[in-house]
């Protein structure tokens, strides 16, 4: 158990609970034909979350100081793929499904393990074209198609 993380988490959830409580005060109290308005449930839950977070804060004080052995995390791979995923989402509608998916997969495969570029390109092309063909052409679903300048 990480003391620091649990403290940060407890304070974050405390803030989230408090925010829900404060914000639920702004919701109308009454609802026609109902004795309990739409504000009651979130307010109570916010209160419980605040109390539980305080309980967790107290519990973290009792944690034994144990340096858990940390395995080296592979941050580089992770951030490349995360960033690629964010760009994938952001460009999906403007550039279209096939191109963004293809690029994301090639970057993803190469980030996981360099080498075998042709194999990566082949797999990525098969997946992106395959999904697009199956879903849009066969099942008549909607996916952003090709960018305008390509059509």
């Amino acid at each position: 158990m990480s003391k620091t993380f649990d403290r940060i988490a407890a304070i974050t959830f405390l803030a989230v609970g408090a925010l829900f409580m404060v914000e639920s005060l702004r919701i109308t109290k009454s609802a026609y034909g109902s004795a309990v308005g739409p504000n009651v449930f979130p307010f109570l839950l916010g209160l419980i979350l605040v109390l539980l977070s305080i309980k967790l804060l107290f519990e973290t004080a009792k944690y034994a100081h144990s340096e858990s052995e940390k395995l080296p995390l592979q941050y580089k791979k992770f951030f490349i793929i995360l960033l690629a995923a964010v760009f994938y989402a952001a460009l999906l509608e403007t550039v279209g499904y096939v191109i963004t998916t293809f690029v994301f997969l090639v970057i993803g495969f190469q980030a996981m393990e360099k080498g075998g570029l042709w194999k990566s390109v082949l797999f990525a092309a098969c997946f992106s074209l395959g999904v697009y063909g199956l879903y849009v052409k066969l099942l008549q679903g909607t996916l952003p198609s090709w960018p305008i300048w390509l059509q």
Binding site: V40, T101, L105, Q140
Partner: protein
Amino acid sequence: MDALTFLIDGFQTALQPHNLFFAFLGVLIGTAVGVLPGIGPMSGVALLIPVTASMTSGLDPAQAATSSIILLAGVYYGAMYGGSTTSILLNTPGESSSVVTTLDGYQMAKQGRAGAALAIAAIGSFVAGLVSLIALVLLAEPLSNVALKFGPAEYFSLMLLGLAAVSGLAGNSMTKAWMMTVFGLLLSTIGLDNVSGVARFTYNISFLYGGLEFLTVAVGLFALGEVFKAILHKEKNDGEIAKIGRILPSKAEAKESVGPIARGSLLGFFVGVLPGAGATLASFFSYIMEKKLSKTPEKFGKGTIAGVAAPESANNAASGGAMIPLLTLGIPGSGTTAILMGALIMYNVQPGPLLFDEHPDVAWGLIASMFIGNVMLLILNMPLVKIFAKIIETPTKYLLPLIVAISVFGVYAVQVTIFDVFLLIGFGLLGYLLAQHDFPLAPLVLGLVLGPMIENNMRRALTASNGDFMVFFEKPISLVLLIIAFLWIVVPFIMKLKGKSIIVNEDM
């Protein structure tokens, strides 16, 4: 025999060619999910909800719901079969409910009896699947008839009990489990209020009016969260894969496993019915029980077949048993059943006592398809087990980016907004961070699914009583349910104070 005629109708639904295909696809993917370490049944089912939604888009709503749930349930119990494969061959459990199987299964594999262990695991799973299904058929009607008499106050208390049971058993810290439950409930209040139509916590963001989509949250937390974890912590599979050898068990081995399979099935089923206790606990309990009952307890851990037969039967029976509270009461007892429930609600099919009246084709079609699915799994896992063992060698290099791509495709195909894709990535990060620090995710999903129903029933009960909270204590059934819920929270707490260790469900 009402149940029998319904079951025959169910078989007519389940035997339609497209439903047979969906059942086959479900158990096939389920077996693969079970075999692959790193993807559990929860992320497997979550990942496939949007995929099935797009596959069934051509059918009418009721048929689409039946077909999808047949596939998704197939993934769920299929994973229970597949999980044993890696436990036995690699000493690495494919999912948490197969952890105990490694104890004796891997030893058997080392002695060259891997084939027999795999066969007994498959046969035990099959028998257990049948036992739990027969019990499901017999219990479904009476239980849902009881639940039909429940009013809003009773329902509220019953759901509270469900939450208490799952939160009490999930993870190492009960405080964290409860925080996750409450957080899930809070997230469920975002969007338009069902009763009054007032917008809550939407801040004029149009995407939020419909609430946070369950699908996006579940796929993000489980599928993406696990991918992020697998990328950051490189999981190695360097172990030698044991040779399978002869598949059929010897006569002596078969005879030795009859008792453990029968006891494991029954025990697993009852553990599965209880909310909160899942397949993992069932497999542990049955292993411990077999060791106590055995005349040769010293053989356990050294490759006795009973140590494989009992837990593998129990975890499959538990997954069948877990369908009972889900289908008859509308209370999911575990993370995976919560996801199945979310999928049903997506199709406008409300699990619960009315399910058998309003959508008998869905309920009985599902039950009948589970019979068929178990037969398919037996075939898949006996002669074809050698092919499945090859899946273990799938390079993660390709697997992980593909899971991300499938998640993005699934969420975008169903929601058609980029907002949800960003939400998906956000919940993926959140899921990784929380799970990494012992914050269990199953209660969060459970809270999100049950939230609207808990709130509606609470407000309906309070409206009838003019805002008097005593109504929950005045109705006898509601009071009993609340007392059980209270005990469920308090008893482990007292036991902890006394210094006793409690069994917890690490991963549901």
